[in-house]
Subunit: 449 residues, 2 copies
């Protein structure tokens, strides 16, 4: 990774105005470092920097940027004359993503400047939802026919190598574009030059349908350790490929999404966004939880006769509710992990529920004995028994709720991470307090009778 | 992905006892599918299956398994005579991981069966902590000298291709093993056959030190879109390479770890583990939270004079505490996301804190007005004002606590995800209830004076 010192050195070289020296360094800089440098210098220097970059390097810089920066900074700084040349160099998936972000009119203007087949490819990509295999794929892949020889294939590869997104897999198609098989460059190198592709190609090819969800695409990559996967339509025509670098971004994105869901609207935002936007995402959750809180308040109010007789009950209320929520969150996280690994099947439901119930019994027993001792010593033995019995039941119920809710949501095909911390905690508040005060009412009646 | 029908078909082929047919299918099966099949059939059939597999396919099956299955099922089923042959085929990183899991004596026995250089490589790998670049790397890479030509390099590659983990990057080293540069196979194919490696190699090479944390290694991959990265020691000797498939596993593992931390001990477990193990992981959190709950109970008890005068206060207690915790969790998730992206710098601290404070003010205002209206209508106007004012302050404090805690933890180099949902929620219980009852006491005094 480029250091601050290196960035400063590079900037002073830019200021010294030595075009040849600066060009050489810039061409060697990886795109990520180039972007770091671009945002390190001021606007005048950015303009100068762009004048030193080759077209392909400029395209790489563009690909590396966020959409907002592409629109705002990049487009205004690049000389209009060079724009279409640069767009021609940008890989089709990145270009389609960008065109999806700008107005349709602007997008059309850019598309007319591309060569016919390239423009068609990009137009195609624009149709697919962003979070599917089609939205991730690029059309810059290498395809060959099955009748040619290994050495002919290598020759073809040599010509296509500069443009292709990956050259390490060659996809074999028939005349009409059906996907027949794949040959890795590794196998091609090992093979005898005169052998035919159809004799060495791998026919049990792993491909993904164009509308497959990106999370599922990522699973295919991690299971089969792939560098790229071909994307096919419903007629098994090869439409593009998804490469592993895009899949890594998907893995990170999905993890952040789960995290955001689990925290009830926090977390899933750009670096610095407008507070209004953040509030809009967070408020629906908070209002929902507020309403449940008000219901809780009403329910507690119903138990007034009990709490008036035994007001000390109320001081353990946050503890009972909190513990139930915590136990539920632990179970919830366990079940969500099963689900996201794709390991939760209908056959497993019962087994997992039994496992979590056993855990709940053990945890309930342990915590209850602990609280029994504590309250008996510092308050009163009978109160200790009451609180301990309540804690035991609410912990078990919390665990079961935490286990069942994501299962139920999954059955309804709702992303279980939205069942999430805050929601489950708040629902548990209601349930646990009902048990607590219900048992307490029984208890008070028993004593007074 | 292999379907249940395909698995059943495959099993019936195995039962039909047609060695040639079954061998052909098995050799075409990707390792992941082979593993699925292995666990689909019974032990007798597993034995039979292994007898049909080639040595290299057996090694792949081994690499695909969990350590526990490697130890229990695999080792007992493979004929002893074949074991050393299989171990020789297993890639060095997977073998080292396995040897780290079994007893030292057993590991030594296996190591003596390997060829001398291979055994040394694996022994080397055993020294590195599992979650560092050294723990991830493999020694099966392709290295070349800088004086040879492109066509000579391709010839060398052809010979090494069957064993190497990746052949798509060739690492250039000097006589003593220092890393000098890298050439991609793509560049090699495009280059003129007679050009020397040192004229086309890329010297601004991105490498990682052997002791770099695996999370940082993953960041290098995602930033630079790499398929493999060379690992060097402190003298810049090339020690191995990390490949992208291992990095994808790291990304998944780290996301799960964060999730487990965030839920206070849930989630981060194997498929089905013993309940005792699960309880051991969860109990410390629950006891900690239980203790904080008891402190809360004591604190509420201190406000007895106030709550006796105004018992209705107590019914809003869970709502106040819950909302504070929810707002805090949202901020917490935002900050953790900044941290895990590596975007939170000292210069950003202030900016982020200001942003979250603005959000908190807006959220506080919104929720307070909502609750003011609600309580005024259904209970009492003065109570509405009291609860609304409290909610406003506790929401702001919750947000600030949620923002600051991970920042403070990061400053102390503690993983901020452990600050996590349950802990922050419980701490906020204490803080918010103190504010609530504190303000209420003030309020009661104002009214009665």
């Amino acid at each position: 990774m480029i250091s601050l010192t290196e960035l400063a050195e590079l900037r002073s070289k830019l200021e010294m105005n030595d075009p040849d020296a600066i060009r050489e360094i810039l061409e060697e800089l990886p795109p990520y470092d180039l972007r770091q440098f671009f945002f390190f210098i001021d606007e005048e220097q950015q303009k100068e920097l762009l004048s030193y970059l080759s077209i392909s390097k400029t395209a790489h810089l563009f690909e590396e940027m966020e959409h907002l920066d592409q629109k705002k900074q990049f487009m205004s700084l690049v000389p209009a004359a060079l724009k279409s040349e640069i767009f021609r160099e940008i890989s089709s998936d990145d270009l389609a993503d960008f065109l999806g972000e700008i107005s349709q009119k602007e997008a059309e203007t850019i598309l007319t400047k591309l060569d016919q087949p390239e423009a068609e490819n990009v137009r195609d990509l624009l149709h697919y939802p962003e979070d599917t295999a089609g939205g991730l794929m690029t059309t810059e892949y290498v395809h060959i026919m099955s009748e040619i020889t290994a050495s002919e294939a290598i020759d073809q590869l040599r010509r296509k190598a500069p443009d292709a997104e990956t050259i390490y897999y060659l996809y074999v198609v028939d005349d009409s574009g059906h996907l027949l098989g794949v040959v890795s460059l590794r196998e091609l190198l090992i093979a005898k030059p005169e052998v035919k592709i159809h004799d060495i190609m791998y026919e049990r090819i792993i491909s993904v349908p164009v509308d497959l969800d990106q999370e599922e695409v990522a699973k295919v990559f991690t299971r089969y350790d792939l560098l790229a996967v071909p994307v096919v339509d419903h007629n098994h025509y090869l439409r593009g490929i998804v490469t592993v670098d895009d899949v890594m971004d998907v893995l990170i994105e999905e993890a952040q999404e789960d995290f955001a869901n689990f925290s009830g609207g926090g977390g899933d935002q750009g670096l610095f966004i407008s507070p209004i936007q953040a509030v809009r995402k967070r408020i629906p959750w908070l209002i929902l939880l507020l309403l449940i809180g008000l219901i809780t308040a009403n329910l507690i109010n119903l138990f007034k006769p009990t709490t008036q007789k035994l007001p000390i009950l109320l001081i353990f209320m946050p503890m009972i509710a909190g513990m139930t929520g915590n136990a539920a969150t632990q179970s919830l996280a366990t079940v969500i992990r099963f689900i996201s690994n794709g390991e939760l099947t209908k056959e497993n439901y019962g087994k997992l529920l039994r496992q979590e119930s056993t855990i709940a019994m053990l945890i309930g027993l342990f915590c209850s004995l602990f609280i029994l001792g504590f309250i008996s010593l510092s308050y009163d033995g009978r109160l200790g028994i009451l609180v301990a019995v309540c804690l035991f039941f609410t912990l078990i119920i919390g665990t079961i709720v935490g286990t069942m809710i994501p299962m139920v949501l999954q059955a309804f095909k709702i992303d279980p991470t939205v069942a999430s911390g805050p929601l489950i905690t708040t629902i548990n508040d209601v349930v646990s307090l009902m048990i607590y005060f219900g048992l307490a009412t029984l208890f008070v009646q028993l004593i007074s009778s």
